[in-house]
């Protein structure tokens, strides 16, 4: 559907202007695959919200308890999963205890996978250093109930073990025993509720991670209500950098930047060819 009438023999510029879209597809695929297999490690500087989160967690004393909410699903795992891994590794390295729970149904399974992946290489044990309480429906109501007693919403952990059998949960009754809340959230219910209840009502420090799409809506909470925020794959890559564990987000960020650059490049050459062919047409029109 182009405004230029098709001529019997088309010039190179015209052909490039209406380039087969499959050429673009190939460029995009290559731009994503190559950096994923051979990471380039494009320079990245941690933004203030990521650095603030990192410093806050670093300043927690050994043995502090961190509550971690897995409020996302497989669709957003590529953005939030890497954040989760980097954060857990930081916790385990620092000797912090982690209590995981999910307000999204599929979050419990993701938590299970993340815990076992992050625990590799650290001397941590389930029940002592970390627990996974599983999923509970109800969103904000569940968060509110944690202010009173964890057992109200989570009488057992993800595998059905009563909390009294878990040494870590013996010293955690309600929000008063939690030193830091980290909410990874892909939407609703998610971070805004944790800020409202855990920070607003119970005065806990809250940090968070979210998808790139929802980051602008959550930035205004930083730094008053949110200690720190990781936004999308970029935030995850920044955190991997801070923690010193280059992982999937660093690769992903390379791929994303290059694919982005490829699209920008295509837009530019698309316009260049467009203007050249327009000028040529004008010239030809003048001759005729």
């Amino acid at each position: 559907m182009d405004s230029v009438p098709t001529k019997p023999r088309r010039s190179l510029v015209d052909r490039l202007k209406d380039i087969d879209r499959r050429v673009i597809f190939v460029f995009i695929a290559v731009a994503v695959i190559i950096p994923m297999v051979w990471p380039i490690g494009l320079s990245l500087k941690a933004s203030p919200p990521s650095r603030a989160l990192f410093r806050e967690v670093e300043s927690l004393p050994r043995g502090s308890v961190v509550l971690m909410a897995f409020d996302y699903d497989p669709a957003t795992e590529i953005e939030l999963g890497p954040m989760c891994l980097a954060f857990l590794k930081q916790c385990f390295r620092k000797g912090l205890k982690v209590v995981g729970l999910a307000l999204w149904p599929q979050g419990a399974q993701l938590a299970r996978a993340s815990f076992s992946e992050a625990a590799k290489g650290y001397n941590v044990r389930y029940g002592v250093d970390y627990v996974n309480l599983g999923f509970k429906a109800g969103g904000i109501v569940v968060i509110d109930s944690l202010g009173k007693d964890f057992r109200e919403s989570f009488p057992v952990d993800v595998d059905g073990r009563p909390l009294s059998d878990l040494p870590l949960m013996k010293k955690v009754k309600n929000f008063a025993d939690i030193d830091f809340v980290m909410a990874l959230s892909a939407g609703d219910p998610g971070l805004p509720f944790w800020i409202m209840i855990a920070q607003g009502r119970f005065g806990r420090k809250v940090g968070g991670g979210c998808t790139a799409v929802s980051a602008p809506m959550l930035y205004p909470y930083f730094p008053n209500q949110l200690v720190g925020l990781l936004g999308g794959m970029k935030g995850a890559a920044e955190y991997e950098l801070l923690v010193g564990e280059k992982g999937p987000a660093t690769r992903g960020m390379d791929a994303q930047s290059i694919a982005h650059a490829a699209i920008v490049f295509f837009i530019i050459i698309g316009n260049v060819f467009f203007f050249i062919s327009k000028r040529k047409q004008k010239l030809m029109g003048a001759r005729a």
Binding site: I24, A259, H260, I263, I267
Partner: protein, 213 residues
């Protein structure tokens, strides 16, 4: 009568839904939930019609041996293959055959179809982001700036600007001010269109869904 009764039903249901918003008193307080529940159930029953339609179409293809009828068998096999275990063998819990098909066939296909958008976004922007007219140029410039502002590259290109005036800040400004304004105007206009159309439907002025204009 075949046309009048549906019109009366539409009017009563529509009017009730509007009125219940203003009255907290029983029985209006539970009306919304009841109506919504009811039409979910209707949609649930209606699914049988859809499945019948789909099945008949593809059975016909197979029966008439129309070109590429083999794929219709694939479709029917998929349908039966997930529905039978879902209804009769273990339901939809975790670790059932139903769940296995869902996790390993449906979810990958859904996410891949969704991921095709990465390619289509690229081809669409190559084609459409051209400064053909003033309007297209506006689209192009806004899109281009926001795209650059979303990656570290954008800020590195504007290193000479003072902090707070770099590409990412510009992108955030575009998103927060002109973008919000445009979106809001569309939302408000569309809301009026929706309200007026709904009123016409409730009052029976718009009745093309019953057949006839």
């Amino acid at each position: 009568m075949r046309r009048e009764i549906p019109l009366i039903i539409t009017f009563i249901c529509g009017a009730t839904m509007v009125v219940q918003f203003f009255i907290p008193h029983d029985p209006f307080d539970g009306m919304k939930a009841y109506f919504q529940n009811s039409y979910m159930v209707i949609a649930g029953f209606a699914m049988i019609l859809g499945i019948c339609n789909l099945t008949m179409l593809h059975l016909k293809k197979v029966r008439d041996k129309r070109p590429k009828w083999g794929y219709s068998i694939v479709l029917m096999a998929g349908l039966v293959g997930i529905a039978v275990p879902g209804f009769f063998f273990g339901g939809i819990e975790e670790k059932t055959l139903f769940d296995f098909i869902f996790q390993n066939a449906l979810v990958p296909m859904q996410s891949t179809m969704f991921a095709l958008l990465a390619f289509f976004v690229a081809s669409a922007s190559y084609r459409a982001f051209r400064a053909r007219t003033v309007d297209a140029a506006l689209l192009l410039v806004a899109g281009f700036l926001v795209m650059l502002g979303r990656v570290p590259l954008g800020d590195s290109l504007t290193w000479f600007m003072p902090e707070g005036f770099r590409m990412s800040d510009l992108a955030n400004w575009i998103m927060a001010v002109p973008n919000t304004a445009g979106q809001r105007a569309i939302m408000m206009g569309a809301a009026l269109g929706i309200v007026a159309t709904s009123l016409r439907v409730i009052l029976g002025i718009e009745r093309s869904y019953l057949g006839g204009g």
